[in-house]
């Protein structure tokens, strides 16, 4: 199913669609650890299959992470305490470092694991939308420069930041997204968590143009995810050219829907920690029903979590979210 076909299904299903953000819970279903899933396509594939078969989400979301592209460029990545991989040391300290960076061989790194995983998932679930996934340009640039240093450099050396952003999009993100699309991914998920740290004027300079460049360059529609309270950034997010926006629990989603241009999908935004991880299934049902009720006037809505569904989320809670949506007639 293509991204556009997802829209058709949205209109014809007669009920709301849903999917939780992220595939980490799949690892608990298969009893595998995060590093094994991150490093091996087969393990990740099996965890994702288990997730899809257990919960019936409306898109297929393999376990992604924010370090995979930086790692492909040569950044040092660590799995602290068996947790998610993270970039532990900046790759780029100065312009010389940037000059030394080469477009990576995507098959030769964990990017290859994910491309292969997309291929296997598309083969296994031909009737479902399989997500291609990339980190956003600003988040990749920040991983390469050092997350905090990037926040200083936007003032102290903006030209350098722009160079890194440009290379991030051209050398890595477009090719990596395209490879996943060629493997069968029919919708592009762009995770841009660091965007929320910038003021709207800086977001407009250092994030928006690069998101647009990436989205324009890839042949399938995009969904942009930004964590945290992105309320100040909503107007700009709606200019990215993305088909949909995945927003976190701090955003007032019905209000966002009022300002969204026609055709823009809003996705979200159940609290992943207080409700999904720590709530009872009744808490989950109540939160979902409240949101589904508030979003009733808006056809372009997919129920989801506000951000990645934590590893230890009780499967019953995921099931409850899916049921709440699929039982909600529109």
């Amino acid at each position: 199913m293509t991204g556009v076909a997802l829209l058709d299904r949205l209109r014809s299903a007669g009920h709301r669609l849903a999917f939780p953000v992220g595939g980490l819970v799949g690892a608990t279903l298969t009893g595998t650890d995060v590093p094994s899933n991150m490093r091996d396509a087969g393990t990740k594939f099996r965890s994702t299959v288990a997730f899809v078969e257990a919960f019936g989400p409306d898109v297929v979301f393999y376990m992604g992470d924010v370090a995979v592209e930086a790692e492909a460029l040569g950044a040092r990545v660590d799995y602290l305490d068996g947790a998610m991989p993270s970039v532990v040391e900046p790759l780029l300290v100065g312009r010389d470092d940037l000059a030394a960076v080469r477009a990576p061989d995507l098959s030769d790194s964990r990017t290859g694991v994910n491309i292969e995983c997309v291929r296997m998932l598309t083969g296994r679930f031909p009737e479902l939308t399989v997500l291609a996934q990339v980190v956003g340009p600003l988040t990749l640039a920040s991983a390469l420069l050092g997350y905090e240093e990037a926040m200083r450099l936007v003032y102290k050396d903006p030209d350098f930041v722009h160079e890194v952003l440009e290379r991030a999009v051209t050398d890595v993100l477009v090719p990596y997204a395209t490879s996943q699309v060629e493997a069968g991914g029919s919708l592009l998920w762009i995770g841009e968590p660091t965007g929320v740290l910038l003021s709207p004027p800086l977001f407009e300079r250092f994030c928006l143009p690069y998101l647009r460049h990436l989205i324009d360059a890839v042949s399938v529609p995009a969904l942009v995810h930004m964590c945290g309270d992105s309320t100040p950034h909503l107007g700009l997010l709606m200019q990215t050219g993305a088909l949909g926006l995945s927003l976190d629990h701090l955003v007032d989603l019905p209000r966002a829907a009022q300002r969204a241009p026609e055709g823009v999908l809003l996705i979200g935004n159940i609290d992943p920690v207080v409700v999904m991880l720590n709530g009872t299934h009744e808490d989950v049902r109540r939160a979902c029903d409240d949101l589904l009720d508030a979003m009733q006037p808006y056809p372009n809505f997919i129920l989801s979590t506000g951000c990645s569904t934590p590893f230890a989320t009780p499967p019953q809670n995921v099931r409850t979210l899916m049921e709440a949506a699929h039982k909600w007639a529109v």
């Binding site: 998610m84 926040m151 936007v154 003032y155 800086l202 100040p232």
Partner: protein, 220 residues
């Protein structure tokens, strides 16, 4: 000749406008004018940082602006600190802070550090991916009043509970106030694990920390 009040206001303004060079120049001017270094810091530079903190909490400025303002603050402090006499030993409190073991997200913790320092705390920064035992050791070794623990991930929140339990086990729970924060952390989680306080952001951390150490006798 500019009067003292104008110079102090200009010190604050240099921080608010994130102007390192101005912070240095006006700090030097303050010294030349005979304005006490301590007063120039607290009545000038720190006032600017407090204003930035208030703006940050309101959503008028964001992380880059707070970081750049702190650079101006520290540039001014570099000029003024060596000239502080008498009150050099005075601190509001001493805090050990760090990001919990297994997590490397430290922007939030670094913002807390600079806001607490601006507010007069002495900070022992343990960095990131800090073993729980290390928080305890550093607190004991440094005679800290407060232990601040941060995390951005749900999988590492348990480290915060472990710290409180470790302090209880060691029979020293009452010696330190434990303050927790980070995106997945909440006031109810803090309560659940027996922490003393919770702060939603770096600015809230200052008032929380002040309140918590205010209940301690200095040097306890």
């Amino acid at each position: 000749m500019r009067d003292d009040k104008t110079i102090l206001e200009d010190l604050a303004a240099s921080v608010i406008s994130m102007d390192e060079m101005k912070a240095v120049a006006v700090s030097e001017e303050a010294l030349e004018r005979g304005i006490g270094a301590y007063e120039a810091i607290t009545g000038g530079l720190v006032k600017g940082m407090e204003a930035m903190g208030a703006s940050f909490e309101k959503g008028a400025v964001f992380v880059p602006e707070l970081l750049l303002a702190s650079e101006a603050l520290y540039a001014g402090l570099d000029v003024l600190r060596p000239h502080v006499v008498g009150r050099a030993k005075h601190t509001v409190g001493k805090a050990v802070i760090g990001v919990v073991e297994g997590d490397t997200h430290d922007i939030g913790k670094n913002l807390v550090k600079l806001m607490l320092e601006a507010a007069g705390f002495e900070i022992i920064d343990l960095g990131r991916d800090v073993p729980i035992q290390r928080f305890l050791e550093a607190a004991v070794d440094n005679g800290a009043d407060l232990i601040g623990v941060s995390t951005l991930m749900t999988t590492t929140m348990r480290g915060m509970r472990e710290l409180v339990d470790l302090l209880v086990e060691a029979g020293i729970r009452d010696r330190f106030k434990v303050l927790v924060g980070g995106a997945p952390v909440s006031r109810s989680f803090a309560r659940q694990i027996g922490a003393d306080g919770y702060a939603a952001n770096a600015v809230a951390a200052v008032s929380a920390a002040k309140e918590l150490v205010g209940n301690l006798v200095p040097g306890q």
